[in-house]
């Protein structure tokens, strides 16, 4: 199969524009240096830019002609490359996610990006840019069908016995517009606050009384925070607009997005872990979010990013119910770290504040003009010492771990409380570590690692050293037990199949 013909003009336009612009600016800066035999001005510059555009377009035509893909019973084969050729085959069983995305222009043209994720490597395994939207959907459906066919062939059942997957799709979750608005309002990402670092640059320089500038500064910061909140809400709104999660046989399908539309599939058999998140506001109103983690990546995500295939917001009960559809787990009682961990946090925060105060004090003593406020600046961090016990308590309260029948659960974080659910049979390694400071208080952390690439591992932080040792061994044993159980199940099933055939 070839890519969509419209991919030539689309790629040529986007790549050609950047190539042309680059050549234009390179030419202009070189022209100033008078290093070239031909003076770079007016027509010569335009010609150079045009060469870039035409060159890029020609390259796209060649790329299109040389790009071919084929879906076979074993997997997806892709032959590509203009100068150096590359043939690649992705086995069906290794495919983790199949994602389709379309931005506004691509939607108007009726084309889409098809991304195939596998567990290996640091990036998307294969990306078809661009195929027709219908073709993308066909490939996505076909991969699931072939996969099931391969499994059926292995276990000996006839593929025809199964109903058409299109009819069996059940909608698990739809985001109502009210929920979307609420989600946008509640999901302030604190990372946006880092944009405030650019605040001073945006500050208009007002000559005047220092006190006024201080007040004005505070006002401006407040305004900026509100603006960031609106920005964050807008981004969330566009991201999760018209979100819908369906279950199609043994796959989850999701659709979402206003400007850029995403449409992806996650095989349930590939789920590595579940993540339930709730920030302070969400917890206050009884809401939570759910992310399903696989070893592939979510669409439009850097390798370290989180899974997009999730329930963006629902009431806690609904999220739990949905999570149980994906992974049947019970929620055992969480054990908190021992109270000496809380003391540790308090000491840590106090030390940080003291250090900050010392730095401010030193700065003011060495270079500082008198502060625009009637007391030394170093007092500000010290004032926060009052809330240290509260902060330490909150941090301690929100930590914990729980050992269930088939899953291990960990919980961390106050501002955003993250609960991770890891099935034992997905555990890759178990790492127990204790820093010098932890050892002083007989504490240790246990990290339960899976092959999930969504970022953020399940960690039981600051548990008692002896408990940590037990947890480490328990998780290892439970992994072996669950593997044995799965083997037994597989054996029974194949026995059943063979007896049915007899």
């Amino acid at each position: 199969m070839k890519l969509h013909p419209l991919s030539i003009p689309y790629r040529a336009a986007s790549r050609g524009l950047s190539a042309g612009l680059m050549l234009f600016f390179v030419g202009r800066s070189l022209g100033d240096a008078e290093a070239l035999p031909v003076p770079m001005a007016g027509p010569a510059l335009v010609t150079l830019a045009a060469v870039g555009v035409v060159g890029a377009a020609a390259w796209q035509v060649a790329y299109y002609r040389r790009f071919e893909y084929r879906l076979t019973g074993d997997g997806l084969e892709i032959a590509s490359g203009v100068v150096s050729r590359r043939n690649r085959e992705i086995p069906l069983g290794r495919i983790q996610n199949v994602d389709i995305s379309r931005n506004v222009i691509q939607r108007a043209l009726g084309v889409a990006v098809l991304d195939i994720e596998t567990a290996g490597g640091g990036a998307t395994e294969a990306s078809l840019r661009y195929v027709g939207y219908d073709e993308a959907k066909r490939v996505q459906r076909e991969i699931q069908r072939l996969k099931r066919g391969a499994e059926d062939a292995e276990s000996g059942t006839e593929p025809d016995e199964r109903a058409d997957p299109e009819e069996r799709g059940t909608v698990l979750f739809e985001l109502q517009s009210g929920e979307l608005l609420l989600l946008s309002a509640l999901s302030f990402d604190f990372r946006y606050l880092s944009l405030l670092a650019f605040g001073p640059a945006a500050l208009p320089f007002v000559p005047g009384v220092a006190e006024l500038a201080f007040l004005g500064g505070m006002l401006l910061v407040a305004l900026l925070v509100v603006a960031l909140w609106v920005l964050s809400a807008g981004m969330t709104f566009a991201r999760y607009y018209d979100f819908r999660l369906t279950r199609l046989g043994d796959e989850l399908r999701y659709e979402r997005g206003l400007l850029q539309r995403y449409d992806g599939s996650i095989p349930l058999g590939k789920v590595q872990a579940l993540t339930l998140d709730a920030n302070v506001l969400m917890r206050r109103f009884g809401y939570a979010t759910l992310a399903v983690e696989t070893a592939g990546y979510g669409p439009g995500q850097a390798p370290s990013g989180g899974s997009e295939a999730a329930v963006p917001l629902a009431t806690r009960e609904r999220v739990l119910r949905l999570a149980r559809e994906v992974e049947d787990f019970e929620v055992p009682a969480f054990s908190r770290p021992p109270e000496r961990a809380r003391t540790r946090y308090a000491v840590r925060y106090a030390l940080v504040l003291a250090g900050l105060a010392a730095v401010l004090f030193a700065l003011q003593a060495v270079v500082g003009p008198p502060a625009p406020i009637p007391f030394p600046l170093a007092v500000v961090p010290l004032a926060f010492l009052l809330v240290v016990p509260v902060a330490a308590h909150l941090k301690w309260r929100n930590r914990g771990y729980a050992v269930g029948e088939d899953h291990v659960l960990t919980r961390n974080g106050f501002w955003t409380r993250t609960t991770k659910v890891v099935p034992y049979y997905r555990v890759q390694t178990v790492i127990q570590s204790a820093t010098v400071f932890q050892r002083r208080r007989r504490l240790a952390s246990v990290v339960v690692d899976t092959a999930s690439s969504a970022g953020g591992v399940a960690a039981a932080v600051d548990v008692d050293a002896e408990t940590a040792r037990e947890l480490r061994e328990t998780v290892g044993e439970k992994l072996q037990a669950s593997l044995a159980a799965r083997r037994g199940e597989a054996d029974r099933e194949s026995d059943l199949d063979s007896s049915r055939r007899d």
Binding site: G93, Q96, A119, G269, K270, A295, V427, Q428, T429, V430, I431, Q432, S433, A434, T435, V436, R439, A444, V447, D449, T450, A451, S452, S453, G455, V457, R469, R472, E473, V475, G476, L479, Q480, L483, R486, R487
Partner: protein, 154 residues
């Protein structure tokens, strides 16, 4: 529990010397342009770094131990941060042996175990004799294959 070959201290010692030299040269250059005296400061910093590195090498050797258990490989190590790792054989993707120039000169080898985990994806055991490294590699490979009855490892 198995401990490493004592010669690994020498290998780490060589590493400490190299680091000390680099740090010393850097310190000398920086101090030459800021404080004035170059060589003395550089030498002092290098000696300090070397002493630290050697102490670390000794302590590191003392804390390093590992064990091939029934179902998994278990490692204990770490001077400042104590780390205990459990690597189940089922999760082993492949096993390498490695021999760097220093290790070759000292007659040592390392075994590196790869898993599909997102963190600590490779676990390496340094300071083994080449025979022990080959044995361990073979043993881990065999155990990994024996326990590999699942079709879906990831």
């Amino acid at each position: 529990m198995e401990v490493l070959n004592p010669r690994v201290r020498l290998a780490w010692g060589v590493g400490a010397v190299v680091t000390a030299v680099i740090v010393g040269v850097l310190a000398a250059v920086v101090s030459r342009f800021t404080l004035g005296p170059g060589v003395t400061v550089g030498l002092a910093v290098a000696l300090g770094a070397l002493a630290l590195g050697l102490v670390f090498a000794v302590l590191r050797y003392r804390t390093w131990r590992f064990e091939v258990r029934d179902d998994d490989l278990y490692l204990e190590r770490g001077v400042l941060t104590r780390v205990n790792t459990v690597v189940p054989f089922v999760r082993v993707q492949h096993v390498d042996t490695q021999r760097g120039p220093v290790e070759r000169a000292l007659g040592l080898a390392s075994v590196v175990v790869y898993t599909a985990g997102s963190r600590g994806a490779d676990v390496s055991i340094p300071g083994l004799t080449p025979e022990r490294a080959d044995d361990l590699q073979e043993q881990l490979r065999r155990l990994a294959i024996e326990s590999e009855r699942e079709t879906d490892a990831v």
